[in-house]
């Protein structure tokens, strides 16, 4: 297939999006699904718009989103803060690798949702519990990519730092971290995506605000348009996050790739 120019690619993107909404609308107005189970895109957008000014479950949509983004930031930030240094250290010190790897390799297959009941019991339904669920989703890619990155840093450069008298901590901060930055940033992008996905699970247990909380409440109130407005908001913010991180990743690669 011939290479497409940017304009043609934009046209295709637009076509896909329009097609998606057209099929959705067609399904909603047809009699294929039971009445009141699939609101039309127009109804969802109208509901979403209404929710920005009219509170539902105590808050407006932007307020719920702000609460969710706060939790996301904490869970994701904590995962990066723990996962990246631990991954780098594991890539550097075999002993630590041998101790941590087996447990980590087992735990990472447990879906974040599975931690929900324990998160609530151990850390409560306030800040701790939901943050722990997000952390469970965000942690593995942070650790894995930092670990792989550290393993790929030229051994000579690490040795050079060693013979110049660098401590283990300095080697991590000034050699392994910059040396594996492209890999770490790629990991952070995956991690942010998973953290945002884990949010709905995390907010099953909150009782105040959050986009997941909105969706749970709307579900029990039989308000499908509000549930879908929530889904739409999750999708749009997720996409925005991903695009921003993709840009950052490209920037880091361009800057570091030449070095």
């Amino acid at each position: 297939m011939a290479r497409l120019n940017p304009l043609e690619r934009w046209a295709l993107t637009l076509l896909g999006t329009i097609g998606f909404f057209a099929i959705w609308h067609g399904l909603a107005v047809s009699a294929l699904l039971p009445r009141n189970t699939l609101p039309s895109p127009g109804a969802v957008l109208a509901t979403a718009w209404q929710l920005t000014v009219e509170p539902f479950a105590g808050h407006t949509l932007p307020q719920h989103l702000a609460a969710s983004l706060g939790r996301f930031g904490m869970g994701f930030g904590l995962a990066a803060l723990v996962g990246v240094p631990l991954g780098l250290a594991m890539g550097r010190w075999r002993l630590l690798d041998d101790i941590v790897s087996p447990v980590f390799e087992m735990l990472r297959f447990v879906a974040p949702l599975a931690w929900v009941p324990f998160a609530a019991l151990w850390f409560g339904t306030g800040i701790g519990g939901p943050v722990m669920v997000i952390f469970a989703g965000a942690f593995p890619p942070c650790l894995i990519n930092a670990y792989r990155g550290a393993k790929l840093v030229e051994p000579r450069i690490v040795e050079a730092a060693q013979v110049l008298g660098a401590s283990g901590l300095r080697i991590m901060a000034e050699v392994l971290l910059p040396g594996s930055l492209p890999s770490i940033v790629a990991g952070l992008r995956v991690s942010a995506g998973l953290a945002w996905q884990s949010l709905i699970g995390a907010e099953l247990i909150v009782a105040s605000a959050g986009i997941g909380y909105v969706m749970v409440q709307a579900q029990s109130n039989l308000a499908p348009a509000i549930v879908m407005a929530g889904m739409l908001a999750v999708g749009v913010i997720g996409l925005t996050l991903d695009v921003a991180l993709r840009r950052t990743e490209a920037l880091v690669k361009a800057r570091w790739g030449q070095a």
Binding site: A161, V163, E174, G179, A259
Partner: protein, 264 residues
Amino acid sequence: MKDIRFEGIGKAFPTRGGRDFVALADVSLTVAEREFVAVVGPSGSGKTTLMRMAAGLDHPTSGQVTVGGKRVTAPGPDRAVVFQQFALFPWKTVRENIAFGLRCQGAPRARQDEVVARYLKLMSMEGTEDRYPHQLSGGMQQRVAIARSYAIEPDVLLMDEPFGALDAQTRTVMQEELVRLTRREPRTTLFITHAVEEAVYLSDRVVVLARDPGRLREIVDVAAIRRSEGWDSMPIDAVMDLPSFTHLRTHVWRLLRDQIRPDD
């Protein structure tokens, strides 16, 4: 200043067949304080392994290495290493690379700046302090690596084919500069190379290794002849034309030639 002593060094690796592969067998060698010793040998004679042992990056399976009377167990800033592939920090500028070791020691900023400026001048690299390694030629990169090692004022310098990755002209310039630097600031130096001329030109003594297993073949004294003939005051090409030089070079070359196999 410290000396380096290799005492009955052996290095063996277990192989899949069950028999050990002996990389080095019973090597004893002393590099005196402020002496420049070059080690030459065919590939597989363990010359790089010797250097890595003195650096504390590799460990003998028998015997011991001491530096200044202290047994080497780990890398330390009393022993600086210059690697063949430069091993500069690509994300640090020339200034940051040279100052790295001093920062590790907690030297104040003023002292770091002073040392960086001094070595940039010695290496005729003024004006490059804010560049990154990839913006420099190979010769310039190796100059930075050498400056980085000298900057921590190590008692011992260990160089592993530092000019091996450079083109012939740059190499000659660097050899001359190293001689200048060495005579000005002599340090106990162990210099690994496979280039015979380079070894004879730079060193006080040339250690020739043999292989299978890696062992000492002969130690050739150069210092006495260099002093009496006044090599240090001559340009490198003039030295290399002297009969005293070619005689030594041929001698070392013969010690190596009968060990070289067609597949090398």
